[in-house]
């Protein structure tokens, strides 16, 4: 991987910080204090824990989006896919709560993957069969997921006493251990890294991955080359959704031990996945690194909110600027090459 691949994201972040500083001054705070607080928050004490925790979801959605990109597809629906993945996994966990953990856990993980995969398959299928633009469909699927799960958590699956839209508590046998604090690091980070390795292997070492990439580069030639293009597109979207289905596994099984409507349905990490895939150049290693950078910002901003009162939504703002800086910087640099 050439040097440029590492420099671009860093420069983009630097630019974003610079522009962000203007806005911080505008609301009457000190940029230096703010950024110091962000970095401290990401690492100091319990901060590490949340950084790793966020990193997990970012890696997962980043991988999902990147897989789609490799096939020329824009999966903007990672939010919806993680929602149905998480919800279905929790449902299975509650349904079979008697089953011992060593059997149930794999089943539950598989349920998340299956549900997310199904949610991704639908736009993939529509695209492959009818050429329907997956951007709009995946976005719509996000809102359908919100509606569906919102309903489930307010009526049939709601925890019996109380008014909060949330599910029952998941059996303790499935509670994943946590380190470093309230929302700390948990084993799902290992799952995320394992997924990254698997995605790498899939894309560059298997026939399926070869075909996915071929279709992404040139569907016409792929057809000539005997690849079943519609099937590959549907498969790629389904795989993308399947991966995304795991993105909130840690929230549900390691942190809250239940599905909480406000938390699950407020997930925004699907968009962050786009950022991560972009910065990481759709390569698993790049995605891990980009996820780390973004996780630092995310958890740092959350901590900074308590410390010096910069709202955590500043993170979204930074993210937007990072994307623009990155994209423009890349084009400018690309023009200078040769």
């Amino acid at each position: 991987m050439d040097k440029r691949a590492i420099i671009s994201p860093l420069i983009s972040i630097a630019i974003a910080f610079a522009i962000g500083a203007i806005f911080i001054k505008f609301i009457g705070k000190s940029p230096l204090e703010a950024y110091a607080s962000i970095f401290k928050g990401a690492f100091a004490g319990e901060g590490w824990g949340f950084t790793l925790f966020s990193m997990t979801s970012l890696i997962i959605t980043g991988l999902a989006v990147a897989l789609g990109f490799h096939c020329g597809l824009f999966n903007i629906g990672a939010n919806g896919q993680l929602m149905v993945g998480g919800m279905f996994a929790a449902y299975i966990a509650l349904l079979f709560s008697g089953v011992p953990a060593f059997l149930l856990l794999p089943v539950v993980i598989f349920s998340a993957i299956a549900a997310g995969g199904f949610w991704g398959f639908i736009p993939g299928f529509l695209k492959s069969k009818r050429g329907t633009n997956e951007v709009v469909v995946t976005i719509m699927m996000n809102y359908i997921a919100i509606g569906m799960i919102g309903y489930l958590l307010t009526y049939p699956l709601k925890a019996s006493p109380g008014w909060i839209a949330q599910s029952e508590i998941i059996p303790e046998s499935l509670w994943l251990p946590r380190y470093k604090g309230m929302i700390g690091a948990d084993p799902t980070i290992i799952l995320a890294i394992a997924l990254a390795v698997m995605v790498y292997f899939l894309l560059w070492r298997t026939k399926t991955g070869y075909e996915i990439r071929a279709v992404g580069f040139n569907p016409k030639a792929s057809n000539y080359g005997g690849i079943n293009v519609p099937r590959t597109i549907a498969l790629a979207m389904a795989l993308s959704g399947a991966i995304a289905g795991l993105a909130y596994f840690n929230y549900i099984f390691a942190y809250q031990h239940r599905v909480v409507s406000d938390v699950l349905l407020g997930a925004n990490v699907g968009f962050d996945g786009i950022t991560v895939a972009l910065l990481g150049k759709n390569h698993p290693l790049g995605i891990i690194l980009a996820s780390f950078l973004l996780a630092v910002l995310c958890s740092g901003c959350l901590a900074a909110q308590f410390e010096i009162g910069i709202p955590k939504s500043f993170y979204l703002f930074l993210e937007g600027i990072i994307i623009f800086s990155f994209v423009i910087f890349e084009k400018v640099m690309g023009g200078r090459k040769e």
Partner: protein
């Protein structure tokens, strides 16, 4: 009974209005060849800025500044996609992130909360505020502009075949900038309508996906102003079905009703795709 129907129609039209603005915006942008999924973010900033500016300067300046804020955000999209030829979807996503971030972060940091009440009140004529009429007028005006004027012809040529337009002396870049900025202004107006005239306040994330529904309406409407109007009315009325259903006490839970417009969109897109086609060069950056 008549009263219910009138209320239903009125409510439907009011709910379509933000969609109409944004959808029209989408038409201008895509007709010039630039996909704009950042309508959502542009509506949000329009909603926010118009309330704040309205409280300080008054109703009309507030609305105009709301439109301007949308235009500025759109300018960023244009710079990224037209001048730097960045991927239009990615840029749109970034616009949405910016919009969401800005409209949450600034109010919370400056005012300590994320809802801002609007101190302006707009006059109503038979239950409709002025922007509703503006929206309808804009639909007719847009049809005229796009299909009967020289400007419209050139704008569309740039979205169909930029190479041809270029060889005939039309500036592809300029036309696309104009198309995108108009879409920002209109989306901003849509947001302004929502915050000032519809709910008299701004709350975080109040646009709630309408920017995306507007996109779907644009596609369903065949990228034409009247088509978009029809589709937006359809969605608006579907939305207002909620009230009717509650009035009649039918027990469909609110979250399910809320997801109907999105489901409807998918169904329509999946079936209508064979009939309508986007502008030929939609989504592709142009390089000499």
């Amino acid at each position: 009974m008549i009263g219910v129907i009138i209320a239903f129609v009125g409510s439907g039209i009011r709910r379509s209005t933000p969609l109409i603005f944004a959808s029209l915006g989408g038409v201008y942008s895509e007709r010039s060849g630039v996909v704009n999924i950042g309508l959502e973010g542009m509506m949000l900033v329009g909603a926010f800025v118009s309330v704040v500016a309205g409280n300080v300067f008054g109703l009309v300046p507030g609305i105009l500044l709301g439109a301007l804020s949308g235009t500025l955000l759109a300018l960023l999209h244009a710079v990224a996609t037209v001048t730097f030829k960045a991927n239009q979807i990615v840029s749109g996503v970034a616009i949405n992130l910016l919009g969401m971030g800005l409209t949450e972060f600034i109010p919370e940091a400056m005012f300590g909360k994320t809802n801002i009440e609007s101190l302006c009140s707009a006059p109503t004529i038979s239950g409709f505020t002025p922007l509703v009429f503006v929206a309808m007028a804009l639909v007719v005006l847009s049809h005229l502009i796009l299909f009967k004027t020289v400007f419209g012809l050139r704008l569309r040529s740039v979205g169909e075949n930029p190479k041809s337009a270029d060889t005939l002396g039309i500036s592809v870049e300029r036309m696309r900038y104009i198309g995108v900025m108009i879409s920002g202004a209109l989306a901003g107006l849509g947001g302004a309508y929502m915050s000032i005239e519809q709910s008299a306040c701004f709350t975080k994330n109040m646009v709630a996906g309408r920017g995306f529904i507007a996109l779907a309406a644009m596609i369903f409407g065949g990228w034409t102003p009247f088509g978009a109007l029809g589709a937006c009315l359809l969605f608006g009325f579907a939305d207002s079905l909620q009230t009717i259903i509650q009035t009649f006490g039918v027990a469909i839970p609110p979250p399910i009703i809320q997801l109907l417009p999105y489901l409807l969109t998918i169904v329509i897109l999946a079936s209508a795709v064979k009939r309508v086609r986007p502008p030929e060069a939609d989504g592709k950056p142009y390089e000499r």
